[in-house]
Symmetry: C2
Subunit: 559 residues, 2 copies
């Protein structure tokens, strides 16, 4: 039992003004957190309890699903990171030691878990298996993005599963999704949590999955198609234009015009030529896999999404071409390079936002020349197919279902990455399959940001004057308000509650200085779900008052 | 319940040969740990459980004593460490970030906890208070000392208490000692754990306390005087010589002899002059507080303990004098500077190992001259007092009680440091006392190396073929051996045990390949205190066999 008269971490009348974010201010006011420096917090006793409760929910559900908790080392040697070509990643901390060596302060544990499991897992009979840990991780983050969500230190649950076939993984994964659903259900956030497709790993063409919880303090935008089971991260959402193109039925004849110098930007061009901006395109030039020259074009009001484009052109690497590469290839300066008059050895990709466009304009691929009244099928080579490689806009439709998206601000709470054999290969984690052949083990990993989840829960349950914790996450079960000189009796009630494993905060602060109003305000600020009032008045009649915050009703309970 | 058929972390028939230390080998054999690199280990599921059990014992006892668990940040900014002049300490890691800044990867948390508590603690009414955390800490250790005990990463319980007066602390501390006794009692190591005096902090003349557990894999030697309640770390043990000096009753007359060149070292001198080594002394020259010149001498077979000497001469700083400082002061080369013919402005301190020495020899403080038959009271200035500043030897006596010490190898499991106002001052943590005056807060800190304690417990309970865990620390409560086809019945027994909060390992590995002998051997290797055997034989009669490892007896238990 915490006796408030001795408890050091006091509430404040008003929140210390160090954060713009309201839920953070409420946590500060309740004395639950304090800063060490910007974005780095200390957790006081009651906030640590919330953390432990969340950790335990994660732990229980994973253990139920035969995932095994372990604890891997926080530091590791350079050589394992060199094996996977990840030693030089800037966002991973190197730890300088006395002598010539650096250690890695682990930001993730693939390089540790694979050599570990390799010592135990020998044949297909040992798989599938899954190990996880809940541990502090470190990132050398350039930006502490938004409010709270990206930090240089954070507590992470990272799980790693090992499989011999894709089928084995799929079977495992379907249950894993259910396990995670249970976790988010127990945190009371499932109803606003969406399974979201996202691309992350560049070495596979599989989508990774995220769980995103709808939150106004957003980090991501998610595109929900209510008819589909799954939603999309903005980064990869398939999109179909919603707004109509200005198409004219009568196709005009192409006309090339020489523009005076300094008429280069789209605004100037559209003014000078008296054409609407809607009739212009946005075109970029890429080098794919260091050998293919790719021209990609979208409608003027969209942007090209390189992640989507990479899939469309089926390249492992994609980068913007530089000025001299463009000049070498297209024989014109970068300003005038566009989509017509292209040489044969370039590949042209058109986004479907251009599909119904008629009589539109482009530069002619000839210095200072511009072409008007361009039309597909007539003026362009290879217009057989249109693709989707634009950044989705919130008013777009899902091309698969033709439904308009519902777009929400959300915060990522769970992530799954297909690691395939990226890590099992360099560490030579092979296994005998049923046919006695050695095969690479397939790996997946699953992340929950446990400390992030705490803040997500706080933000999600934030009200005007407090954070209304789910009952199972609150910093305590009971808050006993002692009025007048009833300390001993209140302590007895507390002790009885503790016998049935309830956590109790006993507000034994001096009556008169801390009158009823102060005490009930603190009980609400901390949002302890059950508030008991022990006073002369009630005790005379052998009962006490009980208020359940989530029901907001008062009960009389007999002693 | 852990079903061994699915559990990845298998035991081995023989221990992997990566450690000379036997308990480490047993842990490796049992599949409880694996290395990431030298001295850095991963904890698998069952070893993590032992860790958590130890953590919880520490936590429960401290919570009972109104210490409040918190969780402070792992990284901190440079400026707080500059305030206390600790930024440049080599053993503390600096973490290089993208931009010009370094962070500290916290090795200890004084610089964090003081600014934290300062935001909450305002008047004497708020004290005493004590906060603690259980957290991974990092040290840039030059040497990974012995076997396991000093690591670059380790899990630490660090507690910090805050007081307004020394009395308040003493009162608090007496209870704290009892709390720690309870902790070590629950770990079954109290009977071999000694409260040991040790000096650590240089800014105070108080002894710090350690708890030392007797262990053969030693880090420290402790000097136990069984008549005293407390023992001493070798570093500071008071000592009185046990062996007699060679004293002759007849005091001879001093004689100065010129030695030929190259007769400098004690071995040569004693041979050349035909005097026993026992009649020579060891003398060193120090500068105290950068102004006093101190000469200190002990019997030839002892060493000077600078920590003890510093107290004797009552200096804040003590360092060896260099050659030119000695020449300036004593007018002779360093080789010939000794204890007689000293100028008036030096201070001579004699260790009590010299007390009964007669007719002994020293250099004359004149180049190449040696003096024979030196005697106190006759040839030396200021021989009024003898002090104790030698390193104790194991055959020495305690000068306070004249008892011979019992000297044991031991490993430190708990530490207390008087921080006084060293940290409250730079962070201006002041408090109003009862007279409404602002005073510095007095701080103490208390460390338990939680991960170290795990290894200490393992080493302490190590037997020939297993580590015989205390019942409350074992990786599980029950190990159920399933023979023949009795899996369902065994699972029912397991489920019933789990209902009463028992942890169960179910050895459901395929009968025949894993026959009884293999299973019972693993149960013993893991030292699960209760082993249940479920077989056709027993089930027919509606019972199962139970073996209690600590009692080594077999029982028949009815279903």
């Amino acid at each position: 039992m915490i006796e408030l008269s001795k408890f050091p971490f006091k509430t404040e009348k008003v929140a210390p003004k160090i954060s713009d974010n309201k839920s953070t201010s409420l946590l500060l006011q309740a004395g639950l957190i304090r800063q060490t420096m910007a974005w780095v917090y200390n957790y006081t006793t009651l906030w640590l309890r919330v953390l432990k409760k969340i950790e335990n929910i994660v732990r229980e559900e994973l253990n139920n699903y035969n995932c095994y908790e372990i604890l891997m080392s926080w530091i590791s040697p350079q050589d394992v990171w060199e094996k996977t070509n990840r030693w030089e990643i800037e966002e991973y901390f190197k730890l300088p030691t006395y002598w010539w060596k650096f250690y890695r302060l682990n930001p993730t544990h693939e390089e540790i878990v694979v050599p570990l499991l390799k010592q135990f897992v020998k044949s297909y009979k040992d798989l599938p298996t899954c190990v996880y840990q809940i541990q502090t991780k470190y990132r050398n983050e350039k930006r502490a993005k938004s409010w709270l969500l990206r930090w240089r230190e954070f507590i992470m649950k990272d799980a790693y599963s090992f499989h011999i076939t894709e089928d084995d993984f799929q079977n495992f994964y379907n249950w894993m999704i259910k396990t995670y659903k249970k976790i988010f259900d127990r945190l009371w956030i499932w109803k606003d949590t969406y399974v979201t497709l996202a691309d992350w790993w560049s070495f596979t063409d599989k989508f990774s999955h995220e769980f995103q919880t709808i939150l106004d303090v957003w980090e991501d935008l998610i595109y929900i198609d209510e008819k589909e089971w799954i939603s999309y991260n903005q980064e990869i959402a398939p999109s179909m234009v919603w707004t109509e193109n200005i198409s004219e039925k009568e196709l005009k004849k192409r006309e090339d015009v020489k523009l005076p110098k300094n008429i280069v930007w789209v605004d100037n061009i559209s003014k000078y030529l008296w054409i609407p901006k809607e009739k212009t395109t946005k075109t970029l030039f890429f080098i794919a896999d260091e050998k293919r020259f790719v021209v990609a074009s979208v409608r003027w009001d969209y942007d090209i999404n390189e992640m989507k484009l990479k899939k469309v052109v089926n390249a492992k690497m994609l980068r913007l071409a530089n000025e001299s590469e463009i000049k070498d290839k297209i024989w014109t300066d970068i300003w005038f390079a566009w989509i017509i008059n292209l040489p044969d050895n370039v590949e042209l990709y058109l986004d479907d936002s251009l599909k119904w466009l008629t009589n539109f304009e482009t530069w002619t691929n000839k210095n200072w020349y511009h072409s008007l009244n361009i039309n597909f099928w007539i003026d362009l080579k290879n217009p057989e197919k249109f693709y989707d490689f634009k950044n989705a806009k919130i008013w777009d439709k899902n091309p698969k279902t033709w439904n308009k998206y519902i777009v929400k601000k959300a915060s990522e709470v769970w992530n799954i990455f297909p690691l395939e054999n990226k890590y099992s290969k360099p560490f030579d984690l092979k296994i005998l399959n049923k046919d006695w052949k050695e095969v690479d083990v397939i790996m997946w990993c699953y992340w929950i940001g446990v400390s992030r989840l705490m803040w997500v829960v706080a933000e999600y349950f934030m009200k005007d004057n407090w954070i209304a914790w789910p009952e199972n996450l609150a910093p305590a079960d009971y808050y006993i308000i002692v009025l007048q000189n009833n300390l001993e009796k209140a302590k007895n009630i507390a002790k009885n509650l503790e016998k049935s494993w309830k956590e109790v905060i006993l507000d034994d602060r001096k009556w008169k200085k801390f009158w009823f109003g102060v005490k009930i305000k603190d009980a609400e600020l901390l949002w302890i779900p059950n508030i008991i009032i022990v006073s002369d008045n009630t005790l005379q009649k052998w009962w006490y008052e009980l208020r359940k915050l989530w029901e907001d009703e008062w009960k009389i309970v007999k002693l």
